[in-house]
Symmetry: C4
Subunit: 200 residues, 4 copies
């Protein structure tokens, strides 16, 4: 029960975050092509953030699917993750409206770094609630992808001040790595169910 309400609330917040970003893409007052074309940085920023938030929802979905129960620590670690994710629409709008200027592009990296660190903390609290020999513990393993993403963001933020394109390439690259769903958890869960099914 507790876990279901946590995932329902998270779904609600993530659904709103992913959708209100489109409100920043304001309909131009004139109906010509130039007005539409001028929106491209806002549109590209929207697509990138949509993909990132979809990735978070997807991973959150897999992570919580492995949890049997939630503790107070898990509840707050989850709120902390949602807080950081709620800043993404702001950074997306600022970056898009200013045509990928340096400071907004760097700040966008900060609002990607925040949820990445918060996700680690959430994983930690879920792991602690389930023990080091749980399905989740085996499924996550060393979590190289998560650690690499944090390193990538930490490189991208200063690089945005050198040249924004360098940071943008890193943001897109990390998203592409994550677009592959977290098969580690899926596979381990599948193995566990398979074994259970075989058990006499």
């Amino acid at each position: 029960m507790q876990k279901e309400r946590l995932t329902a609330f998270s779904d609600g917040v993530i659904a709103i975050i992913i959708t209100i970003m489109v409100l920043e893409m304001k309909a131009p007052h004139s109906a010509d092509l130039a007005a539409l074309v001028k929106l491209w940085p806002v549109f590209v920023s929207y697509v990138l953030s949509f993909v990132y938030i979809a990735i978070y929802w997807n991973n959150h979905h897999h992570l919580l699917a492995t949890a049997d129960h939630v503790t107070g620590g898990v509840l707050w670690a989850n709120m902390h993750l949602l807080f950081w994710m709620s800043l993404i629409p702001f950074a997306t709008a600022w970056m898009g409206e200013n045509q990928f200027a340096r400071l907004p592009t760097a700040l966008y990296g900060v609002t990607l770094l925040g949820p990445a660190v918060a996700y680690f903390i959430l994983q930690h609290y879920i792991l602690r609630a389930h023990g080091p020999h749980s399905v989740l513990a085996r499924a996550l393993g060393a979590d190289l992808k998560g650690k690499a993403s944090v390193v990538a963001y930490l490189c991208a933020i200063p690089l945005a001040f050198v040249h924004q394109a360098l940071a943008a390439v890193i943001y897109v690259g990390v998203a592409l790595i994550w677009l592959v769903p977290d098969r580690r958890i899926e596979r381990t869960l599948h193995d566990v169910e398979h074994k259970r099914g075989k058990a006499p």
Copy 2:
């Protein structure tokens, strides 16, 4: 469980998309009839988009009801559908505020074409997860209505540049065809349950 969270998240996003469109219908500053009447293109666009998104929710509801489980491919195909649907409020606002000008009316067609194609892809992934002899495979059949809609949008988009009314008639016509709920799936599901009920 997995499927339930997918439908809950989709419900959340679709509920927000259908509701935020009304935010584009800004309350006029003056209280006279002329100010209200001037809003008619925004209102008509809102009604049309409300109907389209309601149709998508309805069909999505029937489609997912037939699915026993969801795969990573289904999750992402669903996100892809939600992405295209999230662009409808933007195109609705642009078309309404510019009194059905040619380019916005054509772009509206593009934002209808996008979800239609994305829906095919989602169907494909759900079918692949369930096999060619599943209830869903029989229920969908040739999906003539879906294919006809895509052809209709592909005609409407260039026609919007000839005369906007031609495109508008097609958009309304396709919506009317879909307002009839997808009885194919309902009937086949009903048959299957009927047979199961009769089984000794």
Copy 3:
């Protein structure tokens, strides 16, 4: 399952409708009392609409609790109700920002009349799906309160052009009548469960 997704989607849409109205209550740019006091018509309109939407959610909740299953007709009648409810934030904002001017106050009545009629249609489709001897049919009875509300709105709309206060009194009065929860359904449901519990 079908019914659950319908109520979940309705909950989402109603939750958004009730909450986005507060976005119309824009924070004044100055921090003095006069700026706050000037917002009173917007605030009063918000409170009234919040109460109305809360009443609809409450009654919708009771109505759907009696339904065993939903049909295509019920799905669309529900969408129709949500459409009318989605217009309430617009009329609320227009009435509030224009200090209860005549036309906006009349239009507010129209956006209350719309959902009231749509609710009748939804009841009709749910009743048709359950038969004239169902729990719901007995619980609803003659639905005098629903019919009286429609008559009241039909009176209030023209009266708004005579004097806005007359319409406002009717809107508040109808809300007060409905604030009493629908005990008819609660009582009949309770009776039914009581009898079942007693059955040998």
Copy 4:
């Protein structure tokens, strides 16, 4: 069933309240650091309100977890709580945009006092529905933390007119007290389950 729809609706409303606040943090038109730094009062107000709403969700979650059933009184007491919470984004925006001016800071206290009192009323109705010897009654005990918060808000509101920082310190302090989850309920629930598990 009834309780589940109540919590789902509350989750939806709270998720929207917590997320739309970020819409008040409008992306600046210029891309320089000064423009970003100028947003600090808006950001700090957002963080404080995010924490408060997260606390309410958390406590609401625990409170409803103890309830076996909901009555009409509980439904309306819950709506009353959501109404007060829906005013928090307005007060947050007003306080943030006016750099913690006296009147907005005092009003912010009023919009914290409102939900605190509404929460007491909700507790009262849930307790009344479950009886004085229920798990919840034992778990809540004297509810010193809830009473102390109300007293703190009642002090902070007039103090805001003396010096805003005094009120701000109280608002932050109360939030810190509540950040500790409501272990009373968790512990009692745990005890009850423990006893049940031990029962022959």
